[in-house]
C-alpha cells in the first residue's frame, strides 16, 4: 500500500452508525452490560472478541463495586473522618475506572480501530451504554 495519495483522493471516513450495548439489570443495580452480540457488527467483528471485551468490562466493574472487607474499611474510615478523606484520597472505584479506560483504549488500538470501529468508555455515557461507533468501510467501490 505504498501509493501516494493526492489531496483529492484523501477522504475522511464518515460515521456509518452507532451501536449501543445496553445495561443488564438481571442481577440488580450493579454495573453490567449485556453480552448479546449486535447484528450490525457481524460483518466487522468476531462474536468471541466482542464477548471477551464485554466480559472483561463487566468483571472490572464488578471489581470496582465489590463489597468486601477492603471497601467496608474504606467506608468506615471515611465515616470517621466525616468524609473529608475523600477530598484527598482517590477511592478504589476511581482507581478501577482508570484501569477500565486504559483497557478500552488498548482494545480500541488493537482490535476495534483496525476494523473501523470505536468503543466509547461507558463512563462518558453515564454508565448507561457501551457505545460502538461504526465507521464507513472504505474498501474499493462498495460502502454501507
Amino acid at each position: 500500500m505504498a501509493e501516494t495519495h493526492s489531496l483529492q483522493d484523501l477522504r475522511q471516513p464518515a460515521v456509518s452508525s452507532k451501536v449501543f450495548v445496553q445495561r443488564d439489570y438481571g442481577s440488580g443495580t450493579i454495573s453490567k452490560f449485556q453480552t448479546k452480540f449486535p447484528s450490525e457488527l457481524e460483518s466487522r467483528l468476531d462474536k468471541q472478541q466482542f464477548d471477551e471485551t464485554i466480559q472483561t468490562l463487566n468483571n472490572l466493574y464488578a471489581e470496582a463495586e465489590k463489597l468486601g472487607g477492603k471497601s467496608y474499611l474504606e467506608g468506615c474510615l471515611a465515616c470517621l473522618t466525616a468524609y473529608t478523606i475523600f477530598l484527598c484520597m482517590e477511592t478504589h472505584y476511581e482507581k478501577v475506572l482508570k484501569k477500565i479506560s486504559r483497557y478500552i483504549k488498548d482494545q480500541n488500538e488493537k482490535i476495534y480501530a483496525p476494523r473501523g470501529l470505536l468503543l466509547t468508555d461507558p463512563i462518558e455515557r453515564g454508565l448507561r451504554v457501551v457505545e460502538i461507533t461504526i465507521y464507513e468501510d472504505r474498501s474499493i467501490g462498495s460502502g454501507r
Binding site: A14, K18, R23, G28, A82, Y83, E124, G143
Partner: protein, 444 residues
Amino acid sequence: MKNCEYQQIDPRALSVSPMSAQNRAEMKAQRSRRKWEVFPGKNRFFCDGRIIVARQSGVLPLTLGLIVVTCGLFFAFDCPFLVEHLTVFIPVIGGVLFLFAVISLLRTSFTDPGILPRATPEEAADIEKQIDTSGSSTYRPPPRTKEILINQQVVKLKYCFTCKMFRPPRTSHCSLCDNCVERFDHHCPWVGNCVGKRNYRFFYSFIISLSFLTSFIFGCVVTHITLRSQEGKSLIQAIQESPASVVELVICFFSIWSILGLSGFHTYLVASNLTTNEDIKGSWSSKRCTEESGNPYSYNNIITNCCVTLCGPMPPSLIDRRGFVPLVEASPAASATEIELPPFLAKNDSNMCTRSTKDVLARMVHAFDSRGLCPPGTPKTTPVGVEVSSSPSAGCPLFSRSSRKRDSLHSSNPAFRLASPSPSLSRNTMILGEGPDVGFIPIP
C-alpha cells in the same frame, strides 16, 4: 469475515489544508467551556463546578443558621457553668458533634446525588428504533414501560421523556432539579438537594449526628438549669440568669421529635435496603405483590444491608462537571482524547504505521461532527441532501425541546450538539467519495 480496508490518511497533509486551518482558528477563537456551564438540569454550580446544589436551595440557610446559633449559645452561655460544675469534656463532645453535623450537612448539600446524564441524541434515537419495529416513518412516542427480571422478580422500568431513556431500576426523576437521580430517596428542602445514591450516607450521618447533638444540648441545658436552681434559687431566677438556655431548650425540644423520628425511619430503611420513594409508594410491600413479594435489592440480612448502603464503595459522579465540553469541530469523545491529539499530529512518519490508525480515528471523529446530523432514526424517505441544509429540528422532532433551549446552532452541549449542523462546516467542500457509499452529501 470481510477484511476492511482502511486507507491510511496522512494527517500532515490534512493539517495544511485551508479549510482545517480555518476550523482551527475558529476553534481557538471559541473559549473552551466546562460541562457544568452547559448542564441541562436545574442546578447551580460554584467553585468552577466543584460544588453542586439544587436551584432551589430550600431552607438550607435556615438549617445551618439554627445549628450554628443553637451551638453558639450553648458554648457561650451553658458551657462555662457546666465546665466549672461538671467536666471539661462537655464542650469537647459538643464541639465534635457540631463539627460532624455541619460537615455532613455540607457534604450532603454540595455533593452530586447520583445524577444521570441525559441520553445523547443517538442513544435516544436507538431506543426509539428498537421499539418502533414496524418500520413506520411517522413519529410515535415510545411506550412508557419496559419489564425486566431482577433476581427473578419482575420490575418495570419507566421511560423518562425529559432524559430520553429508560430509567435504571431505583432511579427517579426529580421535578425540582429536573434530573434523573440514581437510587432516588427524596428531595430534602432542609438540605437543599436531592438525596440519592451518592449522598445518602452523608445524609444519614447528618441526621444521626444531629440527633445526638440536639439530645446532648437538650440534656446539658436541662442539667444546667437544674444545677442553677438547686443553689438556693428558684427556677424562675435560674432562667432569668441564663435566658439563652430557654431559647436552646425551645429549639431543641421542637427539633428532637422530628429529627429522632427521621433517624429512626431512615435506620429502618437502611436495614431493609429501601428508599423513601419505594417505601412511600409501597413498591415492595406484601399487600401489593401477590406471590413473590419482597425487595429484590435486599440482601435479607440487616448487617449486610447496612454495610452496603453506608459503607459500600463510593460511586463516581457521572456528570463530569469539570470536564471540558468538546468544541464544535472537536471530537465527541472524551476530552482526554482531545488532549492527546496534538502530539500525535506532531510525530514524524517513522511511526506512521502504528500511529496512522489512531490519527485516522482522530481525524474521523474530527470530521464526525461536521457530519453529525440527524441520527439514523430520522425518516428515511427524505433525500439525504435536504437534511444538511434544513433547520436543526426538521426531521428530528425528538429534539425540538432541546433545540428550544439552545438558541445558537453552535451549541456546545455535547448531548444536543450533534443534532444541529454548523452552517460554516457544511459550506466546506468535503471531499467525499462518489455517490452511494457516502452517508451525507453537503450542498456546496
